[in-house]
């Protein structure tokens, strides 16, 4: 019995739904949710039974696996970078509709 997979499922479902919406901001929100999901999956891969902080190594068998944590930390900061970059794109042209080219407003997909 564990709740983490359900959390992952909820985050992924929400993220994918937003990813399929028109509009850059919703796509960015979707990617943020997907990143959360990915991070939880990575930590779950370290087995969530042991949850002692990997600071005091004398805690013995209860210490959580530090390697997935390092991965997740890296992932979080990269998510920040990617999110900020995509937000910059979203702001171009005054509308974030991904169905239009910002400058000319020309309809791309009938």
């Amino acid at each position: 019995m564990t709740f983490l997979p359900i959390t992952v499922a909820v985050l992924v479902a929400g993220g994918v739904y937003l990813l399929l919406q028109p509009g850059m901001v919703r796509i960015i929100f979707g990617i943020t949710l997907l990143s959360h999901a990915a991070n939880v999956v990575l930590l779950a891969a370290g087995v969530s039974a042991w949850r002692a902080e990997p600071l005091d190594t004398h805690a013995g068998d209860e210490v959580a696996d530090p390697l997935p944590m390092a991965f997740v930390l890296t992932a979080i900061v990269i998510t920040l970078a990617v999110t900020v970059l995509m937000l910059a794109m979203a702001r171009l042209g005054g509308d974030d509709d991904t169905y239009r080219i910002p400058d000319s407003g020309e309809e791309r997909h009938a």
């Binding site: 997979p5 959390t7 919406q21 039974a49 902080e53 210490v63 959580a64 530090p66 900061v77 990269i78």
Partner: protein
Amino acid sequence: MTLVWLLVALAAVPVLVVPLTGAIGRRTGWVVAVAYVAIAAAMVPTARDVLHGDPVSTTYEWVPTLGVSFSLRLDGLGLVFLTIVLLIGAAVMAYSAEYLSPKRQLGFYLWMTTFALGMAGLVLADDLVLLFLCWEITSLASFLLIANAGSGGEAGAGRTMLMTFIGGLALLVAVSVTIVATGTTSLSEVLASDVWSDQGPLTVTVAVLVAIAGFTKAAQFPFHPWLPDAMAAATPVSAYLHAAAVVKAGIYLMLRWSEAFHDVAVWNVLLVCTGLFTAAMAGLFALTQTDLKKLMAYSTVSQLGLITAAIGIGTPKALTAAVVHTIAHALFKSGLFMMVGVIDHGAGTRDIRRLPALRRAMPWSFATVIVGTAAMAGVPPFLGFVSKELLLGSMLTATGPTWAGWAAFLGLDGGAVLTFAYCAKILFGAFVDGERDLDDTVHEPGWALLLPAMLPIWAGLPLGLAAGVLHEPVDTAVQAMVHHEAYELSLWHGITPELIGTIVIISIGTVLVLNRLPLRPRLERSLLPFSGSGAIDGSVRLAHRFGGFLARTVGVDHPARHVVPPLVVLTLVLGVGSAGSLALGDVPATVDDLWRPIDAALLLLVTLGVLGVVLSQSRLAATVFLGGVGIAVTVQLFALGAPDVGLTQLMVEMLTVIVIMLVLRSLPTTFAHRTMGRRKGPMVLAVAVGVAAGLGTWVLTGRRGIAEPGRYFIDEGYEETGAHNLVNVILVEFRALDTLGELTVLGFAGLAIVAVLASVPQSARRAAAEPPRLRPMGDLDDPRAAHALEDAVGNLRPLQLLLRLLLPALVVVSAVIFWRGHNDPGGGFIAALIGSSAVALVYLGRADDRPVGPHRLHVGLVAGGVLLATLTGLLGYLEGDAPTYLAPLYTYLGSVHLTTSMIFDVGVYAAVLGLVMIAFDKLGNAEQMPDEDDAPLEPAGPANPREEERA
């Protein structure tokens, strides 16, 4: 001079050209000409060895694991081509110094000399890989030289590129197949190899591929259209590349491989048929041209066809003819191209219809063109006559049935009649038949222009009279190909079929010339309803349309369509895979005690938050819900025993929300509305992917003990590094290279924002920068209340007061967190994010949108951070036991444990801070774009060099 020094000298020329053109502009050509003549003179002793039958070779190891070596070899054949490259090159360079417009002309000289280097490398290469590389250098330089002509040359340059790269690919395949089949990359070994003797499928394949490669460069049908296209290039380019060098690269390749293929039937038939057809076709097209330069281009195609046919015959006499005609053609054609430039210069046009009869105004040019065209037409006593006789005679030596030889003889004779006719057209069109009146502006240009053009043409006269001089070099060249003596060269061979052929050519030609005036209007029109370059453009358009069709199926410009196929695949693999493993029952049981009660509470919060993000139509509301989800996930991270990760997530969450708010100011308040029908599809897919992801997580995690690497870090981490915080140690020591990569991604994301925003025109940004007016209370009746809401300065006073205390505190906290990172939760990332939050507060505390910190500080931080982290890695090489990149060094200062990974962490800190500052500066000032932001990437100093060049 050894071969390596030859290449070094030739490589030094393009390098010297850069400062030289800056100093003396177009006159650089004289220096380059002198250099080429000097290099050629220095090669004389080596050349003498080669002529005595001792090919010179040298080898250096290059890629030993692949057996590729830097091998050079100069034999008789290479010597002929090398001489052409250097001497014709010198003449053309001297001509360019006067011909080109008085500008710097860096592009021209740089690519011309690079081309000469590539060409010399090609004829010297004794390694297949090196041969291919040099082949591509000549292709690229040729493309650049045509494109250098400006907008007029672009389309032609593109088509040239396409054609020559088809040949390049064919050569690449041929070279690869050959290397695999023979097990060596040495060209001389490959050519002498006995794998070709059985004439099986391998031989046929390679022979056809080499022929295709040769055809593309030597402009043989159906690859010929690029050469007339390339006439957009400057005349010296045509004189060098399109008469003497680049087209001769194709001829060289075919001659070189003759050693292996001269008796392969496919090779013989393919080359002879293509060559003769091309000669006749291009000869006819040449007659339809009125632009002298285009006419010259078709005539080149035609002459190359004759040489190709001779190579196809493959007998010693035919190869002798091919080599001699290559020499003769290089001389008269490069000269004639230059003469077209002289005519253009003197009369202001090179179109026959607009030229006056120039013979009186330009007598020297007239005489020179007479000699040049007579040589091309095969009139005695020029070298062109000797080679044309040889070509004719060699057709009869063809292997196979007698009729084949006679057919080839007649075909070539027909081609030669056309040659005679268009030679006459050049001469009479430019100098005799012109209907316009000569005006005073038409003049003979100076000797500086005329002499380099005359030299190669007049050289054909003594060489023709004393053709025996050429016997030794031609003989060594032919020996290099077929190990057989060359045919004797002389003006007079007695009454032979070829002499009768020549008499026929001259007689029919003369009849045609006498009737030229009525014939011309019939010919000067397009003979075909389509053109070669049109056909290429058509196929390119077709390829574009096909590519567009392929792209539509994955929707690269359509995010939703773009991600659906991967998501469906993911769902199937993960969902079906997990369900399958469960059903088969070979999954280990889960570990006990995987959950805590708080997980359930957090799941509830996350679910509510996600529903909120998905359902809200207001961007603001969605952002609030997104922040909520972020906080719930952060708590979940803490609950999983990951304090570093949790802290990072918390800081990132806050900063992300602030940046989102900045961006939302310039966007509509609500999301675009969609009808229910269009939401169903995404909803179904979203649920499916969610279920698959959840199922996968459940099946694939929590079913084993702690992993080996994790165990290692927990058990040995402290002993190895002297640090308690394992996550931090993994980031900056064990897996520091990962972090360095991450840092770079981070920095480049920041630079990309700066660059992208700089590329959007100011007007577009201003149009976009009309933020919706956010009025939380709706329109207020009381003007004082409305004013109070919008009074930014007054509203911010409390925050500014708070900042006076908060800022120093944040700086201190940031420093402490940085310092303690080794043993307690903290480190460069978290500290930088705390520093970033100080930046965010400073920004929010200001009433107007102004950049935080000095101009371009953020870019400096990113660059400095990445640079510092990268350089710190080098310190790792000082490590005593195992010097590797990024290996940490330790020391103690008193009782304080110090490590180089802390310097690395400073780099991390700077890069993260720089990225956040970029985000605030670039996304924050939507309403007022300071003028200095117009071109943030360009130096603030005087003029931008690129601008200067464009001007």
